[in-house]
């Protein structure tokens, strides 16, 4: 029987689109409507890890779930300082279990934000975040600025649903009622949709933001004629574009967080937006990547007080990015086992960190095989959150939404897997 499910949430990127239509037939997803190409391929699915596996003499061999849970628990209990990493592409409920597990084994919880918008979070700690929900921008923003981000390729429905091309109450004509400004080091597809594109030299974001702050602060005449290759005249025009907007919104991506200056770039951009509010209305938002990387930060914050890189080795949460963040721990060989859930550090961490990971016992929990599987010692396949399991996720603007279960599965959910590992950890502890 063919079943049409409406208003499904897409579990790909931080847009967390909630208007997808999915056709299900005989427990299989047959068709996805309304999603972008990235989301559609995620929901349609691809080859899965078939069974739990344990590495024996260098080879991964199929095992039962019970054996895999027990082996995972043995690794965690015998480790002095285990790392529990990932969390951005699973539910908040899974992370809640993960935090409890970390408390009990004295581990470190870190999320993929640490190698993504981690610098943005540190910027927010310095300056605060002047933001809004995406719907506020849809209804009001007459100026959209994309700085160091390329939603046309990374968040394909962002522009249509929330930003440049969306229509709203005070922006009835959508794109026609808005100006779009793109600031980037290269002409991206997003830049082609812009009213104005400012191409800057790589690594000069900080200078650009500082120059704009000076102009907004009435000190344009103190600027040199040329700021890192951009003329003062052009910067004055851009500052005027911002100041004359009724409601401006800056979306920024890894172009700010991963170029020279890193969190200082974000700190500066947050200050610019804060100051623009003395003249008009302005908000700013990070273009978060994985669909629930925002939620991972939220759960950690209410549980521990900190949004990432939380070390429970002392029995109480301890946070010091640069010390307790995943890459720093790995490069210092300061952790001796790792549980990787819903992420692929082998493809995304610096090489030295991947080498460190490969040398230590690694547990992987994931529906899909990825390069991390190649050196994992215990592999536990899970249900896909938002398709085969319910749960909570937070959109890039911090809005919490409930993921639906669309089809049944034989695979246990991340929550069930983590609970089983926790039960095994407690049993091992009792036996000792």
């Amino acid at each position: 029987m063919r079943l049409q499910i409406e208003d499904v949430l897409c579990t790909f990127c931080g847009c967390l689109c909630d208007d997808i239509r999915v056709e299900v037939d005989g427990g299989r997803i047959e068709k996805v409507r309304g999603a972008c190409r990235l989301g559609s391929s995620k929901i349609m699915g691809h080859s899965r890890i078939k069974s739990p596996m344990i590495r024996v003499n260098g080879e991964l061999r199929e095992a039962s779930y019970e054996e895999a849970y027990r082996k995972a628990a043995e690794i965690l209990v015998s480790a002095k300082h285990p790392l529990l990493y990932g969390w951005a592409s699973t539910t908040c409920e899974a992370l809640k279990k993960g935090i409890l597990l970390a408390e009990e084994i004295g581990g470190v919880v870190d999320t993929t934000a640490t190698v993504c918008h981690g610098p943005s979070i540190i910027g927010i700690e310095e300056k605060g975040l002047v933001g809004s929900t995406l719907g506020q921008i849809k209804n009001r923003a007459d100026l959209i600025v994309f700085w160091g981000c390329n939603p046309s390729e990374a968040h394909p429905r962002h522009t249509l649903r929330y930003s440049s091309n969306a229509s709203g109450r005070f922006i009835p004509e959508g794109r026609k009622d808005r100006k779009v400004l793109v600031i980037d080091v290269r002409e991206t597809r997003t830049a082609r949709n812009a009213d104005r594109f400012l191409r800057i030299q790589p690594g000069t974001d900080y200078e650009m933001i500082s120059a704009l702050r000076m102009i907004i602060g009435g000190k344009a005449e103190s600027l040199p004629e040329d700021v890192a290759g951009v003329s003062r005249k052009e910067l004055v025009e851009i500052a005027e574009m911002m100041r004359s907007a009724k409601f401006g919104a800056i979306f920024f991506g890894l172009g700010l967080t991963h170029s020279r200056g890193r969190y200082k770039n974000v700190d500066n951009a947050l200050s610019l937006v804060s100051e623009l509010n003395s003249h008009t209305k302005f908000v700013i938002m990070a273009m978060r990547g994985h669909y629930n990387v925002t939620g991972a930060g939220q759960v950690l914050a209410w549980s521990s007080g900190y949004p990432m890189a939380v070390d429970y080795a002392r029995g109480a949460p301890y946070y010091n990015p640069g010390e307790t963040s995943c890459c720093d721990l790995l490069s210092r060989r300061d952790v001796d086992a790792a549980m990787i859930i819903a992420s692929d550090p082998a493809s995304n961490l610096p090489r030295g960190c991947v080498e460190a990971l490969a040398e230590m016992p690694v547990i992987q929990i994931d529906p899909f095989e990825n390069p991390t599987t190649f050196f994992a010692d215990v592999v536990i396949p899970s249900a896909i959150a938002g398709i085969e399991a319910e749960g909570t996720a937070y959109r890039m603007d911090g809005l919490s939404l409930r993921l639906r279960k669309l089809v049944d599965t034989e695979y246990p959910s991340d929550v069930e897997i983590l609970q089983a590992i926790l039960d095994n950890v407690r049993r091992l502890r009792d036996d000792n």
Binding site: D7, L9, D18, D19, C92, K96, L100, E103, I121, I124, E125, E126, K127, G128, L129, V130, G131, S132, T133, L134, G135, Q136, K138, N139, R140, R161, Y162, S167, G168, R169, F170, F247, S274, N277, T280, K281, V283, G297, Q298, V299, A301, W302, S303, S304, G305, Y306, P307, Y312, R314, G315, A316, P317, Y319, T392, Y394, G398, L399, S400, L401, R402
Partner: protein
Amino acid sequence: MIIKGGIVYDPANGIFGEEMDICIENGRIAEDAGGEVIDARGLLVMPGGVDAHSHIAGPKLNTGRIMRPDDSRMGTEPRTGVCRPSTGYTVPNCYAIGYRYARLGYTTAFEAATPIIEARHTHEELEEIPIVDKGALTLFGSNWTVMECVRENDMEKLAAYVAWGLRAARGYGVKIVNPGGGEAWGFGSNVKSIHDPVPHFDVTPAQIIRALAEVNERLRLPHSIHLHFNNLGRPGNYTTAIETLELLKDIKPSRMRQVVHVAHMQFSAYGGTGWKDFESKASVIADYFNQTDHATMDLGQIIFGPATTMTADAPLEYANARIGHQKWSNHDIELEESSGVVPWVYMRKMPVNAVQWAIGLELALLTKDPWKVVMTTDHPNGGPFVNYPEIIALLMSREKREEEMKTLHEVVRSRSTLPSIEREIDWSEIVIMTRAAPARILGLEDKGHLGIGADADISIYNIRPDEIDPSKDHAKVKAGMSRAKYTIKGGAVVVRDGEIVAAPQGRTYWVDAAVPERDMDRMLSSLKEKFERYYSIRMSNYMVQDAYLSNPFVVRAGVQPLKEVI
């Protein structure tokens, strides 16, 4: 369980410090009982504390935590066999909130402001707060649908929307913050008075407040409207306060309670034309409360030291950030609200802060009827709730107030009436302000008292009321109230000798109000259009699902008098 020999204060039932036994059976107060005996001979015994206005869960809390890792480092406590780890002082993690309330002898706390669209997040955090019973008030004051109903003067439709909104948010009552201002802030402005029209909506704050108050009574909600005034935090705002209260004088309450509860009155009792001639108008406000009977207040007492201000009054937070040169977070919420978070420090030698401190105490001491006053700090806006024992000691001892005033800026003597106030609050009045009154004001029938059938939420303190003179022994009062000897929640001992011994999951209260179907249908058809055109999420993904309330307690209400449905 039997609590033997305590000196019991249960003012709701006319018991003012009598030695008596209390029996508990199945989590409630009973005529008699067996089982465990708790020896409370000579000790102070009262109902568990009820906090009617506190910011304990939701997006603004996490915003505070994320922007203040410095605060999270304060108050760190490792996990124990019973407790998960604690962090934070002004923005504690969820576990710390539950444990710290319980240690103070509090067993109920209500989150004071949550937007409907973000209520799921609020409930995610409420679920993580152990021990206490809780609920969350729902924001309606800058909501597009509300303002359109008010403009059309369609009270049936507004009632349907409020009922639906409470259900969607699993909310407990109607919260109104700087009405109209949250919408105006969408383009960076504010409303300046209660008669200043909201841009684009052609309604005034006065009309919004009155309409929501009328609908609140039409729906027979357990709590009244819960109001954060316009112009809050500004010098000279006491006139706005009185003008707003006058608007509501003729509205008839549908239950035995107030028509309006004023949130954190201290922040709206200011005289002066600016910060230079800033002064207390607490005596004028208290006189107003003494002469009328339709309003109650909570204090919003400030505590010297760090605070984190967080409110749906976003323009106020913008002003705070500018005045204090502080980091600033703002969060506008589509179609519904705006909000902000700014770290703060209240300083003894800062003239404005010294006067603010006096105002909170003046309000409590000059308002004759303690049933109109709830002791709060508007946690964490005036300071963290863990300082309640400090306020209790101040209210009970003129000597302590004098000692404190010596450490403050001298304007506290000339710009407030506090130095001349002799009143010292007694134990019965403390129990009213921290238990009986907040429970009655919220409409929690089984809380705030120890009558037969009431929830067995009880606190016992290492204070001997027959031997202690709070006027002189205020240090002992503060120490004793800071660590309950026993806190009993729903009949279970959760604190013993100031330590958490059990951490059960509390209940979450919400109100399900019935309205005629035709009103609901009419409202929903116009609401659907809002989702199609303006909201960024689908209507079917909007409501808080059952999964987010593991232990719900539903209070029924509605336009028709309803019998309690079980």
